[in-house]
Amino acid sequence: MKFVAQILTVALVCLALQLFLPWWSLAIGAFVVGYLFAMNGWASFAAGLLGVGLLWFGMAWYIDYTTQSILTTKVALMFPTKNVPLLFLATSLIGGLVGGFASLTGSAFTYKKRKW
């Protein structure tokens, strides 16, 4: 549950930041959310990756849909893969990776291993 909450929070915070700031501001958002949620490394990384990845995918899909793919198909052909789904995957993955590592960094400050 906390994991899903973190994904949603990352997506929302990064959405707000990216409306005004450059793309790399998502790292700040993911970092802060990772810090606050204080999950373990893997979970925090995955939450950042999925949160930003989904955000980027969603926004890219929305633009693609409302513009009838007018630019997506051209840009996809400019990459060696020449494939539209792969362009979406690359977009999601690149945002997601930065989000994931930023989130991981944030959680590394606050996550405490349970003692048993």
């Binding site: 793309w23 630019l71 945002g95 930065v98 590394a108």
Partner: protein, 806 residues
């Protein structure tokens, strides 16, 4: 341990951001580029437009911009200052990246954008004196109050747009290449015009002709490369009626340096650069009012070279094609007159052999005295590399393009480059005055300001006048002067005088009821000045005149049909001869079938025509086979023209040039035609096997409109007929870059136009290439030349530009 984890994770995050925020060679800054909130995704435009109000600094009053259904802006300003400011803003909003890229190319600055691969191109541009020419042009622009008003405001408008950009709204190509626009300057307007002049003037072949003279002798030279081919009508057919007293120069022996000249790396403009224009008098039209047409043939590219615009302010109301980067309309009309341009082809470029005192290159010889060389150091920023410095040697003739540091063969072989476009000029005033012109007198006055690149200006007026004037600044030349490299040590070889404007080739309302030009020779040998050119057109011009001469009740539809005319006069004149030389006993089954296709061909290079494919493939194999003597790896040499080649096949089939040098046999035109026919058919068979379809002409030719960055996905392949030497002059990469038809009716001027592209330069816009499909079918859009109240009801968007309150 924890601190290690934190550091490692932080480091990876930072490294990722760094790596994804910059370009790596050809790879764009992936993070920035793929970010859907600011990257390329944001350049995708929705299929709807909105009206808006914008604030533009420096405007004095509100300007209304109405976009019609083709996204053509109709600008209504309250004074000319605001008009040009709005033109700059609106043009930049659609074409900024292209404008900057083209002026970077003109200025030799492409290395800054794409890296060291462009350094050779950049150095050539600077060494040809492109900046020297542009700075000279700027001086005159700044000195003239009208030109200064135009350019200052146009520049300010572009800069207002640049300042309004955010990382999100940056044009697509900037995001792709990872850079940002710099402020526009008046100098960039000059660079743009000089770069166009270079495209139109650099077909010169002085090195090639000098070598041909030395290798083959004068007699053969004149056989292969005659100054005039004596075919068709000159543009101004005015035999013996030249009533002025020409400027006379003392005759001096032509001093051509004796050595052979190496091939230069200078990329020659494609020979398919050319144009058509014509005007019919009311006596030949259905309405009784003149019709005027223009279609300039240039390298077809995206974003398009032209931008259609309607400019309106008190005392100013003009519409037509503008060049993004220059104020005013270039080929267009207003409520009283219309005009259009084709290239005049004249040789306005000379090369002078320079004799230096010693290898320090500090002094050179001129009339027995040593003159100082001016050394200019040019800096070239290189993307991903160190700044490169190049020293260019300037003589009083102009810059030395090749020397030991740049493709020079030897110390001994230095040539200074003299180009009429190096001189100060004020072409921008010509277009201003044409835009505002009311009659023939205004047209004549406007052209008096025009120097280069020399153009055939067609004219028609609603009052019934039609005219043609071959305007430019032409040196007075002695016979053969300008054809060859000249001895630069004697000032007597230099340009001593220019032909006075009023003695240029021109006429008004000729008896035949039409004027036309298609890059053919301007006047016959009775014109009192010696004229030479890179080449004269031999086919389009005759076809146009043949068709125009038959028209008595011409309509705009007839004009559109003629601009789209695919009749291959060259084929009609040559194919029967070619076929007559074939020995059908030697043909295989495929070749027999090909011959049958050719025999039944109607000489039209239409989209579906297979005969055209076989003919063009034959010709493409034949021409280099004949002129194998000119295929020299080291020496600069050029092929004779198509017309001369065909003439020699018909009249002198046993000429020694028909022998293939590399074979022991002694070939004549007959053997070459047989051999090239087999090669041509083989080329088509190979194509058929690869493509697995029949060789329709449009498929075989594969017309291509390429993006300026040569990015295939941003380019368009199009089915289109025609070819070079045909009125519809679309070869694979070149062709009608703008088609315009204007009917100058007294009840109101009507006009139609189209170009192979779209108003928007943004590949993410539906207006990026939306006209191409219509262009390819020979269709036109009506250009709504109406007042603000009428256009507002049919506009798709209105932009109100207001003076900035800041």
């Amino acid at each position: 341990m924890k601190i290690f984890k934190i550091s490692l994770s932080l480091l990876i995050t930072a490294a990722l951001i760094y790596a994804l925020d910059r370009s790596w060679g050809q790879i764009p800054p992936l993070g920035r580029f793929l970010d859907p909130f600011g990257g390329f995704w944001q350049n995708a435009e929705r299929n709807s437009t909105s009206s808006t109000t914008l604030e533009i600094p420096g405007l004095t009053a509100e300007v209304s911009v109405y976009y019609d259904s083709m996204m053509i802006p109709h600008i209504y300003a309250q004074n000319e200052e605001d008009l040009f400011r709005a033109q700059g803003y609106v043009t930049a909003a659609h074409r900024l990246w292209q404008m900057e890229f083209q002026t970077h190319a003109g200025a030799g600055r492409i290395s800054e954008i794409i890296g060291a691969a462009a350094l050779d191109f950049d150095r050539t541009q600077r060494r040809l004196g492109m900046m020297y020419a542009s700075e000279n042009a700027l001086k005159l622009m700044d000195g003239d109050p009208i030109a200064k008003k135009m350019v200052d405001n146009y520049t300010a408008g572009i800069n207002a747009y640049i300042e309004s950009l955010t990382p999100k709204t940056l044009p697509f190509e900037y995001k792709l290449l990872g850079y940002e626009p710099e402020p526009w300057t008046n100098l960039k307007c000059a660079i743009l015009l000089k770069n166009m002049a270079k495209t139109l003037n650099m077909g010169e072949k002085d090195f090639e002709m000098t070598n041909a003279l030395h290798l083959f002798g004068k007699e053969t030279l004149n056989l292969l490369y005659p100054d005039m081919e004596g075919v068709g009508d000159p543009i101004v057919d005015n035999t013996g009626k030249w009533s002025f007293k020409p400027v006379q120069l003392d005759t001096v022996p032509l001093a051509v340096p004796s050595e052979l000249l190496a091939k230069t790396p200078l990329e020659k403009p494609n020979k398919d650069v050319g144009s058509n224009n014509w005007a019919l008098a009311g006596s030949r039209t259905a309405t009784g009012s003149p019709l005027l047409c223009n279609d300039p043939h240039l390298n077809l590219s995206l974003p398009s070279i032209w931008y259609t615009i309607h400019l309106n302010a008190p005392g100013y109301n003009s519409m037509g094609a503008s060049l993004p980067g220059a104020p005013a309309v270039i080929s267009g009309f207003n409520d009283s007159i219309a005009w259009g341009v084709t290239n005049a082809q004249r040789d306005l470029v000379d090369w002078y052999k320079i004799q230096m005192k010693d290898t320090s290159n500090n002094e050179y010889l001129s009339d027995g005295k040593w003159k100082p060389v001016r050394k200019v150091v040019e800096a070239f920023k290189v993307k991903g590399g160190a700044t490169f410095y190049d020293t260019i040697l300037y003589t009083h003739h102009g810059p030395i393009v090749y020397d030991k540091s740049f493709h020079g063969e030897s110390e001994q072989s230095l040539h200074a480059f003299r180009w009429v476009s190096h001189d100060p000029s004020e072409e921008i005033l010509t277009f201003y005055k044409l835009n505002k012109g009311k009659n023939h007198g205004d047209y004549m006055e406007a052209l008096n300001h025009y120097s280069s690149p020399a153009q055939n200006f067609v004219f028609a007026a609603a009052n019934g006048d039609i005219a043609m004037r071959i305007q430019g600044r032409y040196p007075v030349r002695r016979t053969d002067e300008g054809r060859f490299v000249l001895d630069g040590t004697k000032t007597q070889n230099e340009w001593r005088a220019f032909i006075p404007n009023e003695q240029n080739v021109m006429y008004k309302n000729p008896e035949r009821g039409f004027v036309s030009s298609a890059n053919q020779y301007p006047a016959d040998a009775t014109y009192p000045y010696y004229i030479t050119a890179s080449s004269w057109e031999a086919y389009r011009n005759r076809r146009i005149n043949q068709v125009l001469a038959t028209l008595t009740k011409a309509t705009p539809a007839d004009m559109m049909k003629l601009q789209f005319d695919n009749y291959n006069l060259k084929a009609a004149e040559s194919l029967p001869t070619f076929i007559s030389h074939l020995d059908t006993m030697k043909l295989n089954a495929t070749e027999i079938a090909a011959l049958k296709t050719l025999r039944s061909w109607d000489y039209y290079n239409n989209i579906d025509s297979e005969g055209a494919s076989y003919y063009e493939a034959w010709w493409d194999a034949l021409r280099p086979m004949i002129w194998d003597e000119m295929n020299n790896d080291k020496l600069a040499l050029d092929y004779p023209t198509t017309f001369t080649t065909i003439k020699l096949i018909r009249e002198q089939p046993t000429l020694s040039f028909f022998d293939i040098v590399s074979t022991p046999a002694k070939e004549t035109a007959k053997e070459l035609l047989q051999k090239s026919f087999s090669e041509g058919v083989a080329a088509i068979e190979k194509w058929k096997a690869e493509k697995n379809k029949s060789p329709r002409w449009a498929d075989f030719k594969d017309s291509y409109i390429g993006h300026l960055l040569r990015q295939e996905p941003l380019s368009v392949h199009v089915e289109h007929g025609g070819n070079h030497d045909i009125v519809n002059a679309n070869s694979r990469t070149h062709g009608p870059s703008w088609r315009m038809v204007v009917s100058l009716e007294k009840t109101g001027v009507k006009a139609w136009g189209i170009y192979p592209g779209g108003q928007s330069g943004n590949p993410g816009s539906q207006y990026y290439a939306n006209m191409i499909a219509y262009w390819a079918k020979g269709k036109y859009f009506s250009l709504p030349f109406v007042d603000a109240s009428q256009i507002s009801s049919r506009s798709i968007a209105v932009h109100k530009l207001n003076p900035s309150t800041k």
